[in-house]
């Protein structure tokens, strides 16, 4: 029997040491860094996807709005007043017309001249009443329109995109039959992430006057 003094005693309050070792810290920081990088990458990817999607949706909305305005204007136009009278496969980025104001004494009354045209330099679609006069009034109906329609390579007198029109501009008008006008619209923009977004729309309008 050992003497009591020889009994190894556990000190009543062995103090705990809180803290991390350097190795634990390094490992924790590394793991944290990896998590943050992944999260950041995820957020960035989601952001890019949203950005691209939003840009595409905005472009689509703008194209639809511009096309609606053009279509309604041409539906109310007198077919005989449309100039230039380019029939397919030719087209024109500009169209002049006069709208019906109703009937008077059995004769259709037509309004003052109007024009819808594309400004290739700015990509803006403009509607103008009384063009070339002092009373000219112009409204921008849309922008971001391409100089050439989607798929057209160059002014090479060839139907590059196989849509029946030759060298058509981003906004193109072509007469079809006795009453119809084919309208093609092609928009393009660069999203905030630098990606090119394209949207093309086509519509057939019947002049109702």
């Amino acid at each position: 029997m050992r003497p009591q003094s020889a009994i190894h005693r556990i000190s009543p309050a062995r103090r705990t040491r809180s803290g991390f070792t350097l190795v634990e810290m390094l490992i924790a920081l590394t793991v944290l860094a990896l998590v943050v990088v992944n999260i950041t990458s995820l957020v960035r990817t989601a952001g890019k996807a949203f950005d691209s999607d939003a840009a595409s949706a905005r472009l689509e909305e703008m194209a639809a709005r511009t096309m609606d305005r053009v279509v309604i204007a041409l539906a109310g136009a007198s077919r005989n007043s449309l100039t230039p009278a380019n029939a397919m496969p030719l087209s024109n980025p500009e169209i002049n017309f006069r709208s019906s104001l109703g009937m008077e004494d059995g004769v259709m009354m037509l309004g003052t001249p109007e024009r819808i045209e594309l400004e290739p330099a700015t990509g803006i679609v403009r509607w103008t009443r009384d063009p070339g006069t002092s009373e000219q009034k112009t409204v921008a109906w849309g922008d971001l329109v391409r100089a050439l329609h989607d798929g057209e390579v160059d002014l090479n007198l060839w139907d590059d995109n196989d849509n029946g029109l030759v060298d058509e501009a981003g906004l193109a008008f072509a007469l079809v039959g006795e009453e119809g006008v084919r309208v093609q619209l092609s928009l393009e923009r660069t999203s905030e992430s630098g990606k090119q977004v394209l949207f093309a729309l086509e519509s057939m309008v019947n002049c109702r006057n």
Partner: protein, 506 residues
């Protein structure tokens, strides 16, 4: 003895993981909220564009419903601003205005969600007022011995099958003719082999009757009409004066101008005058002498010939019509004997086949056996000489083939987008049914919302033009009236005549 080592674990556990997790979750939540907000605003914009498109198409539907109301004999009004009709997700109402020149203006206003649209369509009646009459004599219609009135349809794609009887005799195709008068209709006696006949209806006036001679027959109804038919009035075109033209010296001649007012057009013996449409010609006198030929070619366009005094296709002259579509050729005798003091001469004694609508409301017309007429014909009195034949072309009555003229849809003439009425502009951009305080379930369907009431007002509007409105008096907007010319209700004696006159105007 073994000692036990007891170790106490003491002290709190501290760490930053929860805080970090909270930060990350918060950031992600904020990002998601931002994306959702952006998406929401984009969706709102797209919804606004969709509502505008819906309103446009509902307004188009409103115009179609107004036109259908006119085709069914209504006044063109459908629903009203205070009691609109429901269509799809929106509401609409259509107002009809009948200007004096006979066209009807349909204005349709539609609301759907935040979309608003007002469209206007000008229409004219598809039924031709002269074509509708068939063979018509205001005072009398008389068929000579063995004369026939048959039906014909120039718009049919195929030749109608000819019925063959048991003995090999052929019967005429089954297209009904129409003979009418505000007086008597008489059929002289025929023979058993060649009876005097009308293949279709014979409609005398309210006080008249059909008198059938021996071996004469009417295959359809002979019941008198319920009221007298009102002859249409013809609006003379304003054409530049040209002078006299005489086609002479043999060969084929043409007029100097296909649009003009001639004092006299005369075709001398041995000469052919060829008039090719489109043409609008007025003449005080139009004479084709014996031995001369008149060619009316409507292949490339219609021909309208207005004659005020003598209209003579003399016996021995010839008439040629290369295009067998009577609705493309109209011959009007517009002269009133009471204005001239002497009775103008109306003679259609030529040989050949005439495809035309002929209208001579003030004169008596006799058709000889030498001239086959296809089309429609109306005069003060009409007589078919012995053996003469008249074929009523039902295609002259409307644009359709064989359809009931009264049910033909009116023809669109002009269309445009109008500015919204002030009352609609001031409505909030919300669901129109809520904005107007309407009960969704109480709104009528378009087909149930046709205006049946008929109140008529002729007025001068503040724009200086004269208009006629036929519809509900409670819905009429007096704000556009400068002067009231006249009003009428169904109780008035002249109401029916006024409405018919307005709706039958060309």
């Amino acid at each position: 003895m073994h000692g036990s080592i007891a170790r106490e674990r003491t002290g709190s556990r501290r760490g930053g993981a929860l805080a970090a997790a909270l930060v990350v979750v918060t950031v992600m939540a904020m990002l998601s909220a931002a994306m959702l907000t952006l998406r929401g605003s984009m969706a709102k914009r797209q919804l606004g564009a969709l509502d505008a498109k819906r309103a446009f198409y509902i307004a188009e539907a409103g115009l179609a419903e107004g036109a259908a109301s006119l085709a069914l004999g209504g006044n063109g009004n459908v629903a009203s601003p205070t009691d609109p009709a429901r269509f799809g997700d929106g509401i609409f109402w259509t107002e009809a205005l009948v200007p004096i020149d006979g066209y009807t203006e349909l204005t349709s206003t539609a609301l759907s969600g935040s979309g608003r649209c007002t469209l206007q369509l000008v229409v004219r009646s598809a039924s031709d007022p002269i074509g509708n009459l068939g063979l018509f004599g205001d005072q009398t219609v008389a068929l000579g011995s063995q004369a026939k009135v048959l039906g014909y349809d120039s718009s049919a794609e195929e030749e109608p099958a000819v019925k063959v009887g048991m003995k090999g005799e052929t019967a005429e195709p089954d297209v009904p003719a129409r003979v009418a008068s505000n007086g008597m209709i008489t059929l002289a006696a025929g023979t058993k082999k060649h009876p005097t006949k009308i293949s279709g209806d014979a409609i005398p006036g309210p006080e008249g009757r059909v008198v059938l001679g021996l071996n004469s027959s009417v295959s359809g109804s002979t019941a008198p009409g319920s009221e007298a038919e009102v002859l249409p009035t013809i609006a003379l075109p304003s054409l530049p004066p040209i002078g006299t033209y005489v086609a002479m010296g043999g060969g084929t001649k043409t007029l100097p101008s296909n649009e003009g007012r001639y004092s006299t057009i005369r075709v001398q013996t041995g000469t052919v005058l060829s008039i090719a449409g489109p043409a609008q010609i007025q003449a005080v006198a139009f004479v084709v002498e014996a031995g001369a030929t008149l060619e009316l070619d409507t292949t490339l366009g219609g021909i309208e010939l207005y004659v005020e005094d003598d209209l003579v296709l003399a016996a021995g002259s010839t008439i040629v019509c290369p295009n067998p579509e009577a609705k493309s050729c109209s011959i009007y005798h517009t002269g009133d004997p009471s204005a001239y003091g002497t009775t103008p001469s109306l003679t259609l004694a030529a040989t050949g086949t005439l495809y035309a609508k002929v209208f001579a409301p003030h004169l008596t017309l006799t058709l000889p056996a030498s001239l086959d007429v296809y089309g429609a014909l109306a005069a003060r009195s009409v007589t078919l000489a012995s053996g003469a034949e008249f074929r009523y072309d039902i295609a002259t009555a409307s644009g359709g083939a064989g359809g009931a003229p009264e049910a033909a849809m009116p023809l669109p003439v002009a269309w445009r987008v109008l500015e919204l009425p002030e009352a609609v502009k001031s409505l909030a951009n919300v669901d129109p049914i809520k904005a107007l305080g309407l009960d969704k379930d109480a709104l009528r369907k378009p087909s149930d919302a046709h205006d049946e009431s008929t109140w008529l007002i002729c007025f001068t509007a503040i724009d200086g033009n004269n208009y006629t409105y036929i519809g509900s008096e409670s819905e009429f907007n007096y704000a556009k009236v400068a002067t009231v010319i006249t009003t009428a209700t169904p109780a008035d004696a002249n109401f029916t005549g006024m409405v018919q006159k307005l709706l039958k105007k060309p």
